[in-house]
Symmetry: C2
Subunit: 420 residues, 2 copies
């Protein structure tokens, strides 16, 4: 054991939070004694796996059965194609969501769109309407970006009178992140030639819900993409194969999947999907439309509901943070219900409009604590307390729920969702 | 069509290479006329997918059957667990390799290692030997990094007398990139307490080849990691589940999979896997040992063998670039067999010891051309011509093959591997 085991374990806030140094400096954890005591004759006996040849090569690899089942969280639905499945965030690490676990939100199921016959039409207030086959788009210049997608209804139960007890994925798993590759939308719009009076673009999917959203032209000319690939592969069917709109930082439903039509217009269409749904009820009773950009947010995944603590001592508090406005500047963590806060480490690249992983060193003393995280993005926007978020909206609001979330750990290590 | 279609299509080198602006500026491609001519009554008729409900939600999503089969390239082997499968690089986009498509290199198959009983021993020149169960390691602080892994034998056929005709994945697919999450090795070594005379660490896997490599202590104390997660999920069995050594920028075999033992030593072990294999035959007949770091390299994936061009006109030249020494500074592309070069765009984040995607705007005139790419990393190291690489090594050398590769496109659009 090191001579001075506590030298890197400087407390930085209440409830056992330690300085980030404890994550980064070698030896910081030695006092924790996390390693198992050394057995006699360890290493002298070869494990059984060394005594026989292993399994062969394969075309496509599968998950290790002994790693446990990791699946999307699929609810029981009256119409099985209309609803959402959630990414099991609390079972994953890092920031990239494997393609098979990317959350789903369908308005009438996943259409089987054939790339050989699918077409994308750009029309409306343009000099020349254009029709693109999948094969045509493959010849355009591409860009690749790591970006999050979040459903506007994610974390919506935070408005409920009592805290819903569910895993971090059940509560917040309408959230995923991937490396998307596609064609910059501005390239195609410019080819069609945008008329001077154009201000909006209506996007329509080839699903049987005819999912339709209006998007400001400014967003379409900024960093919008027609995505064709997801983490290297062609898009998955549930993510819009063969092509989808992808609007970085914007609520997920506006990134219309199975994209078949973009109509350039002077005003929004006020379609069903942006009036009966996906508009926000404000505290004064008015509805806010086109509140498209996702707010600054963070959520603690370890520990969280369902992942109870087995013993006191050192562990890492870890979670995800993101903002539709750009990069995350900092995440603060509290282990005493908000009385004191300390800044977490952001590990991995901090990319704009992408998930970022935060980590906080923590020594749990075995007593009850309440854990919270609070993100600030590069524009200075700060994740609001629940009370502040509630005060902005009317009853029943479930969209754009970016309020601070709290997990309570009791003296037995059980984790529950609380309002703090 | 824009009034001045050619304004962004400035030639920058021979063979039709265009300025990077053509990738980045809207409207640059308009003169290409890539969009399909508009049909009468387009958009008035709904596609069949809009007339019936689609498929339901699911726990784990699958690839679209109509996206075509994308699999690792698996050779026919006398011992099916001893060899390698390759990532089909030419069929993928961006930089992240989906977990099921990460290349494999096994020395005697994939062991079925149970996380509940697997142990990692750190011993040798340490103050106190330590034994870690998987569960122990899960309590240590973690870090996440996007990193490439490349087999030291990747692209080894470039030394052959005549150019091997194979896809970019067949020739160069012992290469993948993922977001890895794990525990910094220096944390564990420091806990064990390294003796003053220690200089090397020998790593051993729990496979039946007893794969064993010696690694300089300096690398282990720098950015080495015990990886536990790969693109969010627990490691795949063929990537070392439940834990592997991960040495950023170092030849893949040294990142020992199914890691069970790290022995701290004063000198290398000179094990079978670093003497009979994985050493380099130099031109003067001597063998260079422990040439662990992978060189600066790039490879063009589009176009490449098997992906013939169907027509003249605009398209993107695209590929991957990487260096074991850090970030890529630039990639230059030639479309006239090396007579003239122009700098490609690096799209996406340019991360150290990770794959980076490069893209070059190109107008193919329909005549024969020879395409090449040449990478330079942040240390100033430049990818060598084949002749320079050959001159360094003796006959039969297949490791650390980072020479410039060339694709010839003939007047019918057929792509072949050539030495230029």
């Amino acid at each position: 054991m090191p001579d001075t085991p506590d030298q890197h374990q400087e407390p930085v806030a209440g409830g056992g939070l330690l300085h980030r140094r404890a994550l980064l400096v070698a030896g910081a954890l030695s006092a924790g004694g996390l390693a198992t005591g050394l057995k006699a004759a360890t290493g002298a006996r070869s494990p059984a796996t060394m005594l026989k040849p292993g399994a062969p090569l394969s075309g496509v690899g599968e998950r290790a059965p002994s790693a446990g089942t990791i699946q999307r969280i699929v609810p029981s639905l009256p119409f099985p194609g209309t609803g959402s499945s959630r990414t099991p965030l609390q079972l994953l690490e890092g920031t990239i969501t494997p393609n098979g676990l990317h959350f789903e939100r369908h308005h009438n199921g996943i259409p089987d769109v054939a790339p050989a016959t699918h077409e994308l039409l750009i029309h409306g207030l343009v000099r020349q309407p254009l029709l693109f086959r999948y094969e045509d788009l493959l010849r355009y210049p591409r860009e690749s970006r790591i970006l999050f997608l979040e459903c506007s209804g994610n974390s919506g139960t935070i408005g409920a009178d009592t805290p819903v007890q569910g895993s971090a994925g059940q509560l917040n798993g309408l959230l995923s992140c991937a490396e998307w590759t596609g064609v910059r939308l501005s390239t195609l719009l410019d080819e069609a030639g945008i008329a001077p009076q154009a201000r909006w673009v209506q996007a329509e999917g080839a699903d049987s819900a005819g999912m339709t959203r209006s998007v400001p032209l400014s967003i379409c000319l900024d960093d919008a993409m027609i995505a064709l690939f997801q983490n290297g592969e062609p898009l998955r069917p549930e993510q819009g194969f063969p092509m989808r709109l992808l609007l970085p930082g914007i609520e997920g439903n506006a990134s219309v999947k199975w994209l078949r039509r973009l109509k350039v217009m002077a005003a929004p269409a006020f379609s069903r999907d942006e009036t009966s749904k996906y508009s926000d009820i404000l505290a004064d009773g008015r509805a806010e439309l086109f509140s498209l950009r996702m707010g600054v947010k963070s959520v603690i995944l370890a520990p969280s509901f369902g992942l109870d603590l087995k013993c006191a001592g050192f562990r890492e508090i870890s979670g995800l943070t993101w903002s539709g406005r750009g990069r995350i500047r900092k995440v603060e963590v509290s282990a005493d219900g908000g009385a004191s806060w300390a800044e977490a480490a952001l590990t991995g690249p901090v990319l704009p409009k992408a998930l970022t992983r935060f980590r906080m060193a923590w020594r749990w003393d075995g007593g009850p604590v309440t854990l919270m995280s609070r993100a600030t993005d590069e524009t200075g926007a700060v994740q609001p307390p629940r009370s502040e978020w509630l005060a902005k909206y009317g009853p029943g609001q479930t969209y754009h729920a970016n309020a601070i979330q709290s997990w309570h750990v009791d003296a037995r290590g059980r984790v529950s969702h609380v309002y703090a």
